[in-house]
Amino acid sequence: MYFIAQIVIVILLFSIQTTWLSLFSVGGVVPDLTLIWVVYCGVHCSRAMGLGSGIVTGILQDSLSGGLLGVNTLSKSFIGWFFSTLKGKFYVEGVIPVAFFLVISSLFDGLVFYFSMNTVLKGEVATRFLYQSLPTYSFYNGIIGPVLFVALNRFDSWLKFKTSDPYMARFK
């Protein structure tokens, strides 16, 4: 049940990301809901789930963006692994820590893309990407992230309550 719910969340987030999220673009930049979800899974779920969410999301993004094979898989799975491995070492609760770690994750995600495109993939990414699009993207994720974290937390609690033992649930 929990696993199916996570699949539904991924489908929902991808659907929003690829359809009407562009309505909220700031200077052509939109937040990355799936990145926020990967960080959330890394922080709140098991290590396997954190890493798995990164790999699955990255592969899906790579396949949907048409031939940018590997860049998103690399960055998202690293982010998922990083948070699921080190979640006990630092505190990722509350608006400011969540926003901070999302900004850092977004910067990492963008830098992986930039250096992959400009070196291995021989693309043409303008240098102003580093001082215009990337900071906007990171801060946008940092603003939207805590809100999505709260929503995912609520959904998680509700789901755990629904899927728990009905006898024990009475005492919660």
Partner: protein, 246 residues
């Protein structure tokens, strides 16, 4: 007779007095009863009016929705008519498709259209609007396809300037604008110059509008100019596109 007349005179006098005394009360009672009756009637009327108001409100809402749908349909018809006119002008076999999705990542500039291989779409077909080139097919699924937009950093279109006929390569930057590479410093390029597809590369037919020059930087050192190009269409607001099938 005279007795009766006297009695009648007396009665009419009493009547007048009684009438005089009672009439204000009668008026009061009548008007009270009337107003209560009116109130009750109006209350029931109001209940009906309230119900009717609800019904009319929902009717107005339905009509507004219908109107919006019709406006949207008319707008779509106009856009499609523009594409069809463009299609007729080009005299090439083509297909109108709707944009149903956008890129899944921040960094790629790809749109998904609602036509795939079962509609005759295959890889490396040119995709345009009536304003000009917007991209090429990079993946054709059964019912949907992915279009790599000209602003994507992986995109390259061989192009030439309409006036000077100097050639260059339009490459995406991953942002709202493109750049034209390999235009020699000696070439006379001005802001506002129109750029067309050259036909080289085999994807885009010759003469399609690619964009307009928005910035030119000539460096003292180096062989080539730095030219920024505004694409032919606003690629963030694509709704219908035309795919050239040959």
């Amino acid at each position: 007779m005279s007795i009766t007349a006297k009695q009648e005179q007396g009665m009419s006098f009493l009547d007048s007095i009684a009438g005089l005394i009672l009439s204000p009360f009668q008026n009061l009672f009548t008007s009270t009863v009337q107003s209560v009756s009116d109130g009750v009637d109006h209350y029931f009327d109001l209940v009906n009016v309230s119900k009717e108001n609800e019904r009319l409100k929902s009717e107005v809402e339905r009509l507004i929705n219908e109107k919006n749908e019709l406006i949207e349909k008319i707008a779509r018809q106009k856009r499609v008519a523009g594409l069809v006119a463009y299609q007729d002008d080009r005299k090439k076999e083509s297909l109108v498709a709707s944009v149903i999705g956008r890129d899944a990542t921040q960094w790629s500039k790809v749109v998904v259209i609602d036509k795939g291989s079962q509609h005759g779409i295959k890889k490396h077909l040119a995709v345009v609007t009536n304003s000009g080139v917007i991209g090429q097919i990079i993946h054709a699924g059964l019912t949907t396809s992915k279009v790599l937009l000209t602003i994507d950093s992986r995109s390259a279109v061989d192009a030439l300037f309409q006036e000077s006929r100097v050639s260059g390569v339009v490459v995406g930057t991953g942002e709202e604008q493109c750049q034209i590479k390999y235009v020699p410093n000696t070439a006379d390029i001005k802001v506002g110059d129109r750029v067309l597809s050259s036909g080289l590369g085999g994807i885009f037919p010759k003469g399609l509008f690619v964009g307009t020059v928005s910035k030119v930087v000539k460096k003292k050192q180096g062989l080539f100019q730095e030219i920024t190009l505004t694409p032919s269409s606003d690629l963030s607001k694509l709704e219908e596109v035309l795919v050239f099938l040959s």
